[in-house]
């Protein structure tokens, strides 16, 4: 089976799920990694170290900015010439746009946001969540190449073998850009909730502490500071419910749930989050959910493994202190 993996990156920073895709591809046999961009030859080296046998490198100034049209055309031209059976991509917006367009060019289909794969002699069946994670479907693609985007953290990341090399093939970029990128402003720094192994999230409860004698916004700021300290200690990210985002306590990029992001951390700690269905669908694939809430009847306890009925302003600093001591930090 001929398997390709698209190494999605933003300004040279590779998305972790791309390496996870290399790991999946490796279990099927030989792997060719696709690296597109401008001045990105160093990514080819990384692709070899994560397990690629071959890298197809399209390194061209015209590919400096990701634009779905030209990236898709470059992929289409390569796939038309070499006829891969399977093209794996991380499930990022960019990779999905590109797979979507290339699949139109090649009269094939895309299986999106896949959390498990079965390979029966080259016939791939992909499992993916639908209806906001309320159901799962198993799907197949009857045309070739099969495009499959993999959900981040659903598959293990392969071990990087320093110094591993393979065959580097330079390939040409296709033109035909229809859009131009005129500016960019970076988002916040810090761990993104997409990649985080641990997420500590706050909800409406972070603004509820009359004892502090502060107004709503200042109380919420204090609450998210405490949450941030715990997240930082554990090397995790800060999440939030829609209620906290809508109230303006924290930017939208932190929002977990139906209108925010679906996350798959190892540990999800929900503090002051009641647990609406729209929030819960965002954390269905978390391995361990811990809930901290004043209200013992809060629905969040229905999906949690461990619960603490109490005030997050008291409890979170104590939990941070307990972890500090146990982790020897």
């Amino acid at each position: 089976m001929k398997t390709w993996v698209y190494i999605d990156h933003f300004k040279g920073e590779v998305v972790s799920a791309a390496w996870e895709a290399v790991g999946v591809a490796k279990s099927f046999g030989m792997v060719s990694a696709l690296v597109f961009g401008s001045g990105v030859e160093s990514l080819a080296k990384a692709a070899f170290e994560f397990g690629a046998d071959e890298v197809l490198l399209a390194d061209d100034p015209s590919l400096a900015d990701f634009r779905a049209e030209t990236y898709a055309s470059t992929l289409t031209a390569l796939a038309s010439a070499s006829a891969p059976d399977l093209i794996l991509l991380p499930n990022t917006f960019r990779a999905r746009e590109m797979a979507a367009m290339s699949a139109i060019d090649l009269n094939s289909g895309v299986l999106v946001d896949v959390t498990a794969l079965e390979n029966n002699a080259g016939n791939i069946t992909a499992t993916r969540p639908i209806y906001e994670g309320k159901l799962f479907e198993k799907t197949t693609c009857s045309a070739s190449p099969q495009f499959i985007t993999l959900r981040g953290r659903a598959f293990p990341r392969p071990v990087r073998m320093e110094g591993s090399t393979g065959t580097l093939r330079k390939v040409s970029a296709q033109s035909g850009a229809l859009t131009s990128v005129e500016g960019y402003s970076a988002g916040e720094s810090g761990v993104s909730i997409n990649d985080a192994g641990i997420i500590v999230s706050g909800g409406r409860g972070v603004s509820n502490n009359p004892g502090l004698g502060l107004d709503e916004k200042a109380t919420a700021e204090k609450g998210f500071t405490l949450i941030g300290e715990l997240a930082a200690l554990l090397g995790g990210a800060v999440g939030a419910s829609r209620a906290a985002v809508d109230a303006g306590y924290i930017p939208y990029s932190h929002q977990v749930g139906q209108t925010g992001k679906v996350v798959s951390p190892d540990v999800y700690i929900a503090a002051g989050i009641s647990g609406s269905i729209q929030h819960i669908v965002g954390i269905r694939t978390a391995k361990l959910v811990v809930a901290i809430n004043k209200d013992a009847e809060a629905p969040i306890f229905g999906v949690a493994r461990y619960g603490v009925v109490g005030d997050l302003f008291t409890f979170i600093p104590l939990l941070t202190a307990a972890f500090k001591q146990k982790l020897g930090k």
Binding site: F10, T92, R96, G109, Y184, Y252, F301, L318, F323
Partner: protein, 256 residues
């Protein structure tokens, strides 16, 4: 300017969705306009107000999907078109994109097509890119704001890594994210107009095409693995003791 907003009808997000006899069931819950598509309608109406435009809501679905189109009309859309054909029951995103592109061509003279960022049901998030590709029009996806001047559309693209300013010349296919602005509520006048509207129904042969072959096929539907979790409420003589116990339990799960 002529704007088409593509919408879909989906089960309400509060619905308890499950597998019943191998099919998706949402019980007694209503079918509604896909919540992300309400933002697309809102974006279309904002442009209509900014520079004058005719906004047409377009939907592929069964006859009952007229209700979703009526919602768009009651918000302020001028026209609605339902594409309904029994040959489309087994469809996938690329097939839907080819049908939408054909409908957009039949509407004719369209400058701007707007989608929501994804649907709540199958949530592939592919249709915007695929419709743009079939039409060979530029795509500006994940727009948080839209400015149109002298035939050029400039959007702020909201991505994981921050915000980009991206532009393209009309005609353009767009998708929008929530920062475009909260969808307006239907007005009283809008609801009256929508209730009287006669929504044309187009079949594939009306658009001079046959059903595009679906290549993505569902082979099985599964209920999610039940998390038989009895939540263990951690108790202790003091909050500090509870914190200590909880930290131990989390560490013992060896997931950290």
């Amino acid at each position: 300017m002529k704007i088409v907003v593509c919408i879909k009808q989906v089960p309400d997000s509060e619905a308890k969705v499950s597998v019943q006899n191998g099919r998706v069931s949402w019980g007694e819950s209503p079918l509604v306009i896909n919540p992300f598509d309400e933002y697309a309608v809102e974006a279309g109406l904002q442009q209509k107000e900014a520079q004058g435009a005719e906004v047409t809501a377009l939907c592929i679905g069964p006859e009952s999907a007229r209700d979703a189109l009526k919602h768009a009309l009651s918000m302020g859309a001028d026209n609605a078109v339902l594409v309904c054909d029994p040959a489309l029951t087994e469809s996938d995103s690329q097939a839907a994109a080819r049908v939408l592109a054909a409908a957009i061509r039949k509407i004719g003279g369209v400058d701007l097509v707007i989608f929501g960022r994804q649907t709540l049901d199958t949530a592939t998030g592919l249709t915007t890119a695929q419709t743009a590709r079939v039409l060979s029009w530029p795509m500006l996806a994940l727009a948080g704001s839209i400015k149109i001047e002298g035939g050029v559309v400039t959007v702020e693209r909201v991505i994981e890594e921050g915000k980009q300013t991206v532009s393209a010349s009309l005609p353009v296919v767009l998708s929008v994210v929530q920062s475009i602005g909260e969808p307006r509520y239907p007005s009283f006048m809008g609801i009256r107009k929508a209730s009287k509207a006669v929504i044309p129904l187009w079949t594939l042969s009306d658009m001079g095409m046959t059903a595009p072959k679906a290549v993505v096929n569902r082979v099985e539907l599964l209920n999610p693995p039940s998390r038989n979790l009895a939540c263990e409420i951690i108790s202790g003589s003091s909050p500090a003791e509870i914190a200590e116990t909880l930290a131990e339990k989390i560490l013992a799960e060896k997931v950290l």
